[in-house]
Amino acid sequence: MVGKKKRGHPDIEELLARPWCYYCERDFDDLKILISHQKAKHFKCERCGRRLNTAGGLSVHMNQVHKETLTSVDNSLPNRQGLEVEIFGMEGIPEDVAQAHNQRIIAGFYQAEAERRATTGNPGPGGNAGGQPKKPKFESPADLKKRLAEHKARKEAEKAAGTESGGNTPLDGAQNSPLGQSPASFQNAGPYIASPAASYGAPQSAGYGSFSQEPYSQPAVAYQQPYSSQPPFSGPPAAGFQPQFSPPQQQYPPSQSFPPGQNYPGGPNQSFGAGSPPGSYNGYQAAPSHTPPAHGNLPNRPPSLPPAPGLPQRPSFAAPSVPTYQMQQMHQGPPASFQSQQNGWQGNGWKGQDQKAAMSSAYPPHSQGYGDYSTNASSVDDLVSGAAREVDDIDEIIRMAEAGIKPPKKGDSTTAPPQASETGAAPTLLEPIAKAETSGKKSKKDKPMKMVYSDNEISPEEKMSLMPRYAFIPEGKAESSLVGGHTALVVAGIVDA
């Protein structure tokens, strides 16, 4: 994982950690921005522009203020328009939707990484280097020598033990061929070398090697390099994949001193297939590290079970940073659909949904909606960045969020008046006068207030005019006449009123 921090593109973990919008699948730098996006794009009343906090809040608002019924969430994807899911920021997203989103992110990530690699010719850092036939990764001579030495030592040991495994032989050849700089076999082996992928490849390749090497070369071609780490799992041999995991693990305990079932209770099959947490995955990872002493016993295995002869060759066994859901995805997703799914998300996949949307003409075309997004993005960003000079309710949210206060759910009910006039909520919430001012709703609306100038009868100017400082004494009149005149005015006012 050297150089990880130097990359200009985001890590997959970073990508997965980004908040995203349930309704439009857009992702954001910050949860606060996501929330403001949702308020601006999905929870905004189209009648009065008021921004609510949730779809339910908007529905209530529309119902109470405008006497309209909200049927769908604005600007949302065709399958996300429902009001039944209560979304606020990242809260409330159904599990399956969240998983699908993560899969899409992962797919996009590998696609992007593949493209980067294709254009730069650089192998990916850490995680997924290999798999690129044209640009095989060479190990440094020192590593090669080291491995060669290890291999030789192992051979010696095997020979000494007289347990040379027939099943391993071809593999060993394949594995060792790079050491011998055999170009032809190198290409196949390449993907498994010098990358965490090799951590899978190594144990597996042993098993595969005993079948045939085709499964490897095929996926490598089919997927190009992006899935260098994936072909072993998601490629055609997927069916044969799971058994390959379990046998070694089941075998290790006996061959080592682990009590069976203690470290690997339940089958790895099960745990992997169910999207197991990394823990169980690591359990598998841990196994290889114990293999060196054990692998002398490997010949005991039936040929169909992949042994781990290659493992000792890689002392620096790094756990590939493959998240759980990716594992799950790899196991579950048929390779073909995976590929197309990826294209779908990356490319014009939305268009298919656009068409759907267009059919139900109730919704604006999504292409348009997306156009809006880009502009909205900037505007929201502008708002946020310009918070200092321009106070908005987005800004308020953000400030409150910073202060650790949950934004008030003022949108949830129209009984909450547009309070934050100072911060700008009011303009978007201008209510009809009849209701706001003259009807008997005041008890609901009234908030304790302190008026800076509260004399409802006499204007500040009139008061000022009475001050000696500003007093004017008409020429030829005594001071008393001013007072008298003023009193007369007041009297007249009363009479007239």
Binding site: E46, C48, G49, D382, G386, R389, E390, V391, P418, Q419, S421, E422, G424, A426, P427, T428, L429, L430, E431, P432, I433, A436, E437, T438, K447, P448, M449, K450, M451, V452, Y453, S454, D455, N456, E457, S459, P460, E461, E462, K463, M464, S465, M467, R469, Y470, F472, P474, G485, H486, L489, A492, G493, D496, A497
Partner: protein, 351 residues
């Protein structure tokens, strides 16, 4: 967004500002009336030196309002000395047009009708016929003290105490007054009650002559339309503004009076200035706030857009608060804000 330019005018009035008015033609000519008994004429161009004070016209008493006349060289002032004056800005000569029986609060000029209307706390409006000086001033009595006047090419809006609001149709009014001078009981075209519960502070008409905005001492602005049809009347609304959460009181708002309203002559949006020192721009049609400027150190007393809409002049001075025994307008400042092309432009109404 390009940073908007704002600068302070040098040599501001020494006391509170009562009104700010831009000239009808030149966008850089500015009149300011002040409680320090002067009317100031500035040329605001040249931000480095903070504009230039062209002339100062001294009055006998605090000046409560000022306005330009037919051109950039004529002005009218209304003051505590009960007089409505015409000022020749070039020569400095003044002429008393009429004398009320109390301080004159406001004065407005209509170019189209060539009349000057003044309102006074003596509960009268004075109509001055500038095109026919021989004609006597018409006095129209009002039911309550007028607080603010606003005029368009065809209408005059008088906001009074007791939340009364009169709208005069200038043409018909002038026709009536031309027939007889006994127009003291002339009825307005429309009599309305303010939409706001508290005392009206300012009123300003839309440049397109469709309606007006009014503000109250209780941090609120109402927007209404002249058209008496139910459809148009249904469009009226009011909103809160110029309030701040009270740092001491839980959930309490400090509510400031909205002292000034000014419509943008080009875009039809309007600015409000409050006792909180905030100036906000609003889009009356879209019912949105366009922007809010950083707080001024003092209460905003007066606002005006230049005739081309490029400048916004802001008069800030200490606000008069409840039960204030002493008041001093010391520290009064004038700010000029140069607006970018779209700064005061409203967004198109949402389809």
């Amino acid at each position: 967004m390009a940073p908007t330019i704002q600068y302070e005018l040098s040599s501001p009035p020494t006391d509170a500002v009562s009104a700010i008015k831009f000239a009808p033609d030149s966008p850089t000519r500015l009149l300011v009336s002040s409680w320090d008994r002067n009317v100031y004429l500035y040329d605001i161009s040249g931000e480095e030196e903070g504009g230039k004070l062209i002339e100062k016209y001294e009055h006998r008493a605090p000046v409560l309002d000022v306005c330009f006349g037919a051109d950039d060289h004529e002005a009218f002032s209304a003051g505590m000395d009960w007089q409505v004056k015409r000022i020749n800005l070039d020569s400095g000569e003044t002429e008393v047009l009429s004398t009320h029986e109390g301080p004159v609060k406001s004065v407005v000029y209509s170019k189209e009708q060539s009349i000057l209307v003044s309102s006074s706390w003596d509960l009268t409006l004075h109509f001055h016929y500038l095109s026919s000086p021989e004609k006597e001033t018409t006095v129209i009595s009002l039911p309550a003290k007028p607080h603010s006047l606003s005029i368009t090419s065809s209408k005059l809006v008088v906001a009074m105490a007791a939340r009364l609001l009169y709208i005069y149709e200038l043409k018909s009014t002038l026709l009536l007054t031309s027939q007889s001078n006994v127009a003291s009981k002339l009825d307005p075209w429309q009599q309305r009650e303010s939409s706001l519960k508290f005392m009206t502070r300012a009123v300003a008409c839309m440049p397109n002559d469709d309606g007006y905005a009014s503000s109250s001492i209780e941090g609120r602005v109402a927007v209404e339309w002249f058209d008496p049809s139910p459809e148009s009347q249904a469009r009226k609304y009011a909103f809160k503004c110029h309030r701040q959460p009270d740092p001491e009181g839980e959930g309490t708002d400090i509510v400031y009076p909205v002292n000034a309203l000014a419509f943008h002559p080009v875009h039809g949006t309007f600015a409000s200035g409050g006792g909180d020192g905030v100036v906000a721009l609003w889009d009356a049609n879209a019912k949105r706030r366009i922007r809010q400027y950083q707080k001024y150190p003092q209460s905003v007393a007066a606002l005006c857009f230049s005739s081309d809409g490029k400048y916004l002049a802001i008069g800030a001075c200490p606000g008069f608060e409840t039960a204030q025994e002493e008041y001093s307008g010391e520290g009064t400042k004038l700010y000029i804000r140069e607006l970018s092309e779209t700064e005061a432009k409203g967004k198109p109404p949402k389809a």
